[in-house]
């Protein structure tokens, strides 16, 4: 079959709309334009390492890590429970997990605004119980909640997929050889499910680090994450050079952590999910 040329339109498209734009961003990040003066510089990158911007990066990584850990702690047990129910219920339960994901991402975040805001339902409930209302909206807690809510299925699905593929006879063998339930889980099920855990961690951590919508809607203005910083530079400030430099840094962080995660994940289980 000589059908190589079928890929040429694709090559053309990807060169113009994927490779060239990234190259342009790289060029912007390495140059400056000040009135009439223009030239090559690394100052956009060194500027990013000023404490004020570095803190934004650290806060983004910090919040994303917290969300990932919460998703793992909440998600693993539920994935395990679902994988152990009988097939008929199992499929329904997984389908139920997926339905909210098909709702528009912004609507899901918006739903939490309704619940969390000052006169929202949670506070109404608290005051009617005689408790003092909480200030959840516009805090780090609200941002983490939004991330966990939106990305929890990304943790549960890969773990679930790996868990249902585990050969039942391995677990029976462990039991026959005298391991109790807890030991079987620790020595057989958990190690075998690690590929799912790793792709789950990747799939929650990556969108959490780069989000700017959740932090904008639930975190208000004062909790800037790295995604918001990029948005600001391009939309409000108009400093494309600095914005490009931040984008390049973020891209490198993501691609490097992806390749590290890939190394752990030997049989590539579920990586292509993301």
């Amino acid at each position: 079959m000589k059908r190589k040329n079928y890929a040429y339109p694709y090559v053309f498209w990807m060169t113009i709309f994927v490779v060239l734009p990234l190259f342009l961003v790289l060029v912007y990040s390495l140059t400056f334009k000040n009135g009439l003066k223009a030239g090559i510089t690394l100052s956009n990158f060194t500027r990013f390492f000023e404490p004020i911007y570095l803190n934004v990066l650290l806060r983004s990584i910090n919040l994303a890590l917290i969300s990932t850990i919460i998703c793992l702690l909440l998600g693993y047990p539920i994935a395990y429970i679902i994988s152990r129910t009988n097939i008929k219920h199992r499929n329904t339960l997984i389908l139920l997990f997926l339905i909210p994901m098909w709702m528009n991402f912004l609507l899901r975040t918006y739903a939490w605004m309704t619940l969390l805001e000052k006169n929202g339902l949670i506070n109404k409930l608290l005051t009617s119980l005689g408790l003092s209302p909480l200030n959840i909206m516009y805090t780090n807690g609200a941002v983490v909640l939004g991330m966990v809510y939106n990305f929890l299925p990304f943790m549960v699905l890969p773990i679930y997929t790996v868990l249902i593929k585990i050969d039942k006879s391995l677990i029976e063998a462990a039991n026959d050889l005298g391991a109790n339930k807890f030991k079987t889980f620790l020595k057989v099920t958990l190690p075998l499910s690690l590929p799912g855990v790793i792709s789950g961690i990747t799939m929650v951590f990556m969108p959490s680090v780069t989000t700017f919508v959740i932090s904008r809607l639930l975190g208000g203005g004062q909790f800037t994450l790295i995604g918001n910083l990029i948005e600001q530079q391009f939309i409000n400030v108009g400093d494309w050079n600095f914005g490009s430099a931040i984008s390049i840094v973020m891209m490198l962080i993501i691609l490097i952590s992806m390749s590290i995660m890939n190394r752990f994940d030997k049989d590539k289980e579920g990586v292509n999910l993301w």
Binding site: K4, A7, T114
Partner: protein, 266 residues
């Protein structure tokens, strides 16, 4: 026994967490008063306001228009590309696959600003056209990645057999290869469509004034406070999704269902 109850309670709590916000949106879409603090009476006025809201209706139109064009073009180009890549030598294949993975792995916001920079550098006016191009760009890799595995599973002998029996190469392609890889093409098309409908970040940066999809409209409304029409919209969208998924669930067999559900996880 205690263990079993514990499991049930935990499962219930997780599902309550997942569904409570949606249920509350649905309930309050029928609420008479504009505030969401208390339920004052049943009304359908938000639904009629929704259908009379020109901004929401226009963005609905743009969302569907962009999704249909983007998924058709990317399915066509992507399927051709997958066939082409499949027939390349190892080195070319590797380079192209790396380029294919680039937009999939790259953060949305980086893809978005890079496209915006390109469009402005090319002096293109940001609007419907640039948004459609951007959507095709981020959908294409998903089509390629869902068709390629099907091509790998293909038995090369069937194609050769068709040629031996007198089929021209293009006839054999249409009658032998395309039907075999059809499931991959369909899941690529569905994936593109849903990704396009759901997209916010890339559309936000690559569209201009006057043209916004549903996500952008919801975003700008949500920033200005909460509008009960959005509750009504959520209810309608949720019901649509629910009905569609239940139908798909009925039609497809178990194995392919699990596949397509997993693919949706991007």
């Amino acid at each position: 026994m205690v263990n079993k109850i514990l499991k049930r309670v935990y499962t219930a709590l997780i599902y309550i967490f997942l569904y409570a916000p949606i249920v509350i949106l649905i309930v309050f879409s029928f609420n008479e008063s504009k505030s969401r603090g208390s339920f004052t009476g049943f009304t359908l006025k938000w639904y009629s306001m929704l259908f009379n809201d020109r901004q929401i209706m226009r963005s609905m139109y743009y969302t569907l228009l962009v999704a249909v064009i983007a998924s058709c073009v990317s399915t066509f180009l992507g399927t051709l590309a997958a066939i082409g890549i499949h027939n390349m030598n190892k080195r070319q294949k590797k380079i192209l696959l790396n380029i294919t993975y680039l937009p999939v792995l790259n953060p949305d916001i980086v893809t978005a600003i890079s496209l915006m920079v390109l469009f402005i550098a090319l002096n293109l006016k940001l609007g419907l056209f640039t948004m459609i191009i951007s959507h095709i760009t981020f959908c294409l890799p998903y089509v390629v990645l869902s068709v390629l595995p099907k091509l790998k599973q293909l038995n090369p002998n069937t194609y050769e057999a068709a040629l031996d029996l007198g089929a021209t190469p293009s006839y054999a392609l249409r009658k032998v290869i395309i039907p075999e890889i059809m499931p991959g093409i369909i899941s690529g098309a569905l994936l593109s469509f849903t990704l396009s409908v759901d997209d916010f970040v890339i559309s936000f940066f690559t569209t201009g004034s006057g043209v916004s999809n549903l996500s952008i409209t919801i975003y700008s409304m949500a920033r200005r406070g909460i509008k009960p029409e959005i509750n009504a919209l959520s209810t309608l969208l949720f019901l649509t999704v629910l009905i569609l998924l239940l139908l798909i669930n009925k039609i497809t067999n178990k194995e392919s269902k699990e596949m397509s559900l997993i693919e949706k996880t991007k």
